[in-house]
Symmetry: C2
Subunit: 349 residues, 2 copies
């Protein structure tokens, strides 16, 4: 019989297929050909993006014409929200609206078009994490901003419109409902137990580690008990931390290694699947940091969200999290790093 499992943070229910659980090869993921055209994120094409807001480069000069960078952050050329103006709230009859003020940036993970995040050297991933941190701090200071969401779409089926590996950042004038729900749930738990629900989850997962994919000194990655999606994987710091920005240098190094191995296992177990990840952090300020614990949610795109999910908010997960964990642990974590030519890289003509 299937199981209805409840997410202890949000209270959301999922339906888990505990019998005849689908194995990795039972999923057919949609593959698309690399898109042709000049890639604006490649070495030599820097002039095709808006001006850098951050870059890590040898000469240290932002927007330098020399292709000597390893991580670049640029505003999105087609932003979902506009950086100019004020977040004015107003009504239209019974409806409410706010000007679409915010920020939308792209973190170009490396100059190499064909090297996915999981194949980058650990030291390089560390640099990407520093870029996340820098941009989080920068936007959190903007009084118009209520929340900063960092997320990644890899593969067209997961919503990526460019093939070159990149992460995105969207800063919104209000706290998104998804984060609010998590914070509300975490606060409710804290009021009742005087403990962080995420810390308790880590504790329970590690006592009987059948869902733990990877663990290091500072981090743990597991398949959540009430995973919405097959092979959904969460990464959490062991030390209770509300803000991603409070990471220490040794923690960043540790996280880079763990993230590489987790993404590598997903890559190998599921044959380079399309996926999304989302970094959930406390909103700017310290109001929620006592009960909210930042974490990264990784969701491979293997199933189609359809009428039942849209209508109910329930998810049907055809692979039990324990089974997903076993497959991920059995998979290799190493993704071969093939260094492609570094100048004027494009994916076609």
């Amino acid at each position: 019989m299937p199981e209805l499992r409840k997410d202890p943070v949000t209270g959301r229910w999922v339906i888990i297929a505990t019998e005849r659980s689908k194995r990795p090869k039972d999923y057919e993921t949609l593959r698309m050909e690399p898109r042709p055209g000049v890639c604006p994120f490649c070495f030599g094409n820097e002039s095709l993006t808006p001006e850098e807001v951050l870059s890590f480069r040898h000469n240290g000069k932002r927007n330098s014409p020399e292709p000597d960078w390893w991580v670049r952050v640029v505003p999105n050329k087609y932003p979902a929200l506009s950086f100019e103006g004020e977040a004015v709230r107003r009504a239209e009859g019974l409806y409410d609206l706010i000007n679409g003020v915010g920020a939308h940036e792209v973190i170009i993970e490396s100059p190499d078009h064909q090297v996915p995040l999981a194949a980058l050297p650990e030291e390089h991933i560390r640099e990407i994490l520093w870029a996340y941190r820098d941009r989080l701090i920068a936007h959190s200071k903007d009084p118009r901003i209520g929340y900063v969401l960092i997320f990644k779409n890899q593969g067209p089926a997961a919503g990526a419109s460019l093939d070159h590996p990149h992460t995105q950042l969207i800063a919104t004038p209000i706290v998104p409902v998804q984060v609010k729900e998590e914070m509300k749930g975490a606060e409710r738990y804290f009021e009742y137990k005087d403990r962080c629900v995420f810390c308790d989850m880590i504790g329970q997962e590690e006592r009987k580690p059948s869902r733990v994919v990877e663990g290091t000194n500072h981090f743990v990655a597991f398949e959540p008990y009430a995973s919405r999606f097959p092979f959904e994987t969460w990464v959490l710091p062991r030390r209770h931390q509300g803000h991603f920005e409070s990471l220490s240098e040794s923690e960043v190094g540790d996280l880079a290694g763990l993230l590489k191995r987790v993404l590598g296992r997903i890559w190998n177990a599921l044959d380079d699947p399309p996926f999304n990840f989302m970094l959930h952090v406390s909103p700017p300020g310290d109001a929620d940091t006592e009960w909210y614990h930042w974490h990264l949610e990784i969701i491979p795109k293997l199933t189609t969200v359809a009428g039942f999910e849209w209508g109910s908010g329930f998810y049907i997960n055809p692979t039990a999290p324990g089974d997903a964990c076993r497959h991920l642990r059995q998979a290799d974590w190493e993704v071969p790093y093939k260094k492609p030519p570094r100048v004027h890289q494009t994916t076609g003509s």
Copy 2:
């Protein structure tokens, strides 16, 4: 500048591209070839499905071997929830679970494999609506059931695993979070205003009908102000009604005609897009019927839900609802009804 608009029921925000709004032909929807194989929902293949729980046929005998039916309802062969057993609640450490008890049925809309809902005669659609109503009533009487969701996936990209036009029903032991959120929001509004928020929406939409796609004596179809998806369309009864079951005969006839025209316009404007629809009704019993107003939400599948949406619960809608409405109104509503051969219909070899 884009606009952040708030759904007055759930409080969920969406980002609406008010400038350079995408037109229908700007969307590329994924098309797939009809799937080969014997179709279990076609005339003559009745023995391939589990036994009927309801059918409308000339001789009136359920599970009669004669292919004389026009609507059939059968249990899903691969149900998401099991019909047998009790909904036992228990804990696993800090986690909560319930046995996956419920029901999962398929409403086969007609014996004709290639005729979509929008192309069926109005009188036939009426029969499908009666089947929805009958099954809603049947499951609402089961004390183990907390909610009955009727929904449709059309096209593989919208999650349909069989091409033959069909609707599904899933009955769950608890009220789904999506419906709960809507009810909570509607109750909050009612407490404040002593009015139904859906009735107020209908009022505001009709006073300045720039988002109204179709209207009849008893129903109205409009593009919601805070549409999550391009060409999202809601159908509501004008008379405040919590339960779909309270529909009168004349209302069912009216709804069949309106639904045909709305789906026909979507078909023609967007060139037969994949879509989902979900029927949101009050849970069994009368506790919420004062503030909750049943409605049908239709969402064409034109965009990819990606990291930002998963991480935030925000949606980015690239077509402003007013523009979507204009395109739908300009489109023809008639979808040609080509009657295919009626016996042993399959889609291939």
